[in-house]
């Protein structure tokens, strides 16, 4: 990043970093290059925040990694690390582990889930406990650098296919990861009901299989091992080649959570069956980290707002509840949660780079279940949405952020990634 002319030069006071890792407190083994990189991360992030460019987590991390490509490894050394990856639920599950672990936990709360975000999080906090959400394509690199105690693998489904191409390629990469790292000390917490996750995890030395509600299996209709048809019966599944659902050690049925030997009731402030599944996997991870599950689940149950998701907001006389879904599996889960809520449903769709440039996935969303409701269409790709709803037999109204409908009861906003960010900015608490 470059300072522009005429801008007051930012004061590089260290006061905002009183709680953060200081060069003096860093392990003495650090080499000059590492110290330089850490200081660089801090200064660049501080500058970037002051100049109002983003939340100041990506630029600094990128700078640090350029100075010292091994920076993540250096920063993670000697800390207890948990990683969370998968297509849906990363941010929420990471927040749940943070909550369940309690105390001071370093974490990429901004959602920057690639190495630059991880570096920034580890520079921002010296805590010995670390939980990071990790982009699916970066999991192998991050595992090698962070030597985690626990890795949570939530689910795998089609998402932003214009960038990642094929979901099975990711499963393949994860699978080969366990063959190439020292896995004896890693516990993988994996979704037993998602065949792609099982395929990706079964090569790890220690796996805790979780039986949690997984409604989306459209990307695992054919066996990841032999491409024959997988047979599903309830949550159970198997293939003629012998590939089958492993026996779970964690299970969640309705609100009854069983982790290890104990069973307890789990009721969350967050809505939706998918959040219960996230919580069950987060609590399994926390259990592996040596935390009492009873206490942890009480803390997790109170979590009500994760990075603005499910938050109540106001906009031009409307009372909004903001929800986020980024892909067909996420939309299917969210529609099941919101379709019977009173009030209006507004859906907002963009197709910027961060969303995936191709909104074809809309046709994989089971919108037909909204028949009988009227959907207000927002976002830059509202015509794609309206067309999809029209063909699905759902009534719609084309709307614009500039000419909003008049208030008519509570509103649930369901938006994909950048559209959600827009709604967070547009609305007020």
């Amino acid at each position: 990043m470059v300072l522009r002319k005429g801008q007051p030069s930012p004061r590089l006071a260290l006061s905002p970093f009183l709680n953060v890792i200081s060069v003096e407190r860093m392990p003495s083994a650090l080499k000059t290059r590492d110290r330089l990189a850490v200081t660089g991360v801090r200064i660049v992030n501080q500058l970037s925040r002051r100049l109002g460019r983003g939340s100041g987590t990506v630029a600094g991390g990128r700078f640090g990694l350029r100075v010292d490509p091994r920076l993540l490894r250096v920063l993670a050394q000697g800390r207890e690390v948990a990683l969370v990856s998968g297509t849906n639920g990363k941010t929420t599950t990471t927040a749940m582990i943070r909550e369940g672990w309690a105390g001071d936990v370093a974490s990429n709360t901004s959602g920057s889930n690639m190495p630059e975000g991880h570096v920034a999080a580890l520079v921002a906090s010296a805590s010995s406990r670390v939980v990071l959400e990790v982009d699916e394509k970066w999991l192998d690199v991050t595992v090698r650098d962070c030597a985690p105690r626990v890795v949570v693998l939530l689910n795998l489904s089609r998402d932003q296919l214009d960038r990642s191409n094929e979901v099975r390629a990711i499963a393949e990469r994860w699978r080969s990861l366990w063959a190439t790292v020292e896995t004896a000390s890693v516990v993988v917490v994996a979704n037993a009901n998602d065949p792609l996750v099982v395929y990706a995890s079964e090569t790890a030395a220690h796996v805790r299989w979780c039986d949690v509600e997984t409604s989306w299996t459209a990307d695992a209709v054919s066996c990841p091992k032999c491409t024959q048809t997988l047979h599903f019966a309830g949550a159970n599944w198997h293939c003629a080649c012998g590939f089958a659902r492993p026996t779970p050690s964690t299970s969640l049925h309705d609100d009854q959570l069983q982790v290890g030997a104990a069973t307890r009731t789990l009721r969350l402030a967050l809505p939706g069956a998918f959040n219960l599944a996230n919580a069950a996997m987060a609590l399994t991870a926390v259990h592996e980290l040596g935390v009492d599950v009873a206490e942890a689940s009480q803390r997790v149950a109170q979590l009500s707002d994760v990075a603005g998701r499910f938050s109540r907001r106001h906009w031009r006389g409307h009372d909004l509840r903001l929800t986020l879904a980024k892909n067909p599996a996420g939309f299917a889960a969210m529609l099941a949660t919101i379709r019977d809520l009173p009030g209006e449903i507004w859906i907002s769709i963009n197709a910027r780079v961060a969303d995936g440039r191709d909104p074809s996935w809309l046709y994989d969303v089971p919108f037909a279940q909204l028949r009988g409701r009227v959907v207000h269409c927002f976002g830059e790709r509202r015509l794609d949405l309206a067309t999809c709803l029209d063909y699905a037999g759902v009534d719609y109204v084309l709307c614009s952020e500039d000419s909003p409908p008049s208030p008519n009861g509570p509103v649930t906003v369901l938006a994909n990634y950048t559209a959600f960010q827009d709604w967070l900015v547009r609305s007020t608490k």
């Binding site: 054919s222 024959q228 191709d358 074809s360 809309l362 046709y363 067309t387 029209d390 063909y391």
Partner: protein
């Protein structure tokens, strides 16, 4: 009764390709035709249908789908008079050969003389093809380069994106359309859906204004066309 069959959606349905069946059925029904939508699974026999739809798929499933469709006799059904629309991997399957999973070469169904080899890099992005004076718009995401045999007509000339080889996209034969514009290409191009439907019912169709017309106009503007 128009019977529209989506072939092997569990193997060929990566990009919302199922949308094409819904679009075709809805546009026919709104004009008063009876339509039956059929999903053909890997263990199902090939039904008697007027229109078969093939979507996109990943490498392994694409190879598997080809074997299944070969065994079920899709080529015979086409030669006996059925219509076929294929997008993305479906296009490659209809040809004589294609390469997936590295450089392994597999036999296609051979409905059309077309050979797909692996391109140097993936083609990912907006695609626009000039088809008989009208633009077909869509999104492509594939690693193939498709070469047509002598006398095989492409679907059209590429004006945005890469299509089959940078010059032309897809192919066209009697009762058969194939394009690299993947996913719900019929939703984006109402005129294209109607061209296929008109052929299936052998009749001229009345205009059917829908919000899809606005979407089509907006996509053309976005592509500077």
């Amino acid at each position: 009764m128009i019977r529209v069959a989506t072939l092997l959606p569990e193997l060929l349905g990566t990009y919302g390709d199922g949308g094409n069946a819904v679009v075709m059925a809805t546009r026919a029904r709104r004009r008063g035709f009876d339509v039956e939508l059929i999903e053909v699974g890997v263990d199902d026999p090939l039904p008697d249908a007027n229109l078969f739809l093939l979507g996109g798929g990943e490498d392994g499933p694409q190879r598997h789908a080809t074997e299944v469709l070969h065994a079920r006799g899709l080529a015979e059904a086409y030669r006996a008079g059925a219509h076929v629309l294929a997008v993305c991997a479906g296009l490659q399957i209809l040809g004589t050969h294609f390469c997936v999973e590295g450089d392994d070469r597999f036999e296609g169904l051979g409905l059309v003389d077309a050979v797909t080899t692996r391109g140097v890099k993936r083609s990912v992005g907006e695609l626009a093809v000039l088809v008989g004076g009208r633009h077909l718009v869509g999104f492509e995401n594939h690693g193939g380069v498709t070469t047509l045999g002598e006398g095989v007509a492409p679907l059209g000339r590429v004006v945005r994106g890469r299509g089959s080889d940078g010059d032309v996209d897809g192919f066209r034969a009697p009762r058969l359309w194939a394009t690299y514009a993947h996913g719900p290409v019929l939703a984006l191009n109402p005129w294209f859906a109607d061209e296929i439907l008109a052929s299936v019912v052998s009749a001229e169709l009345a205009a059917l204004p829908t919000v899809a017309d606005q979407l089509y106009a907006e996509r053309l503007r976005a592509l500077g066309l």
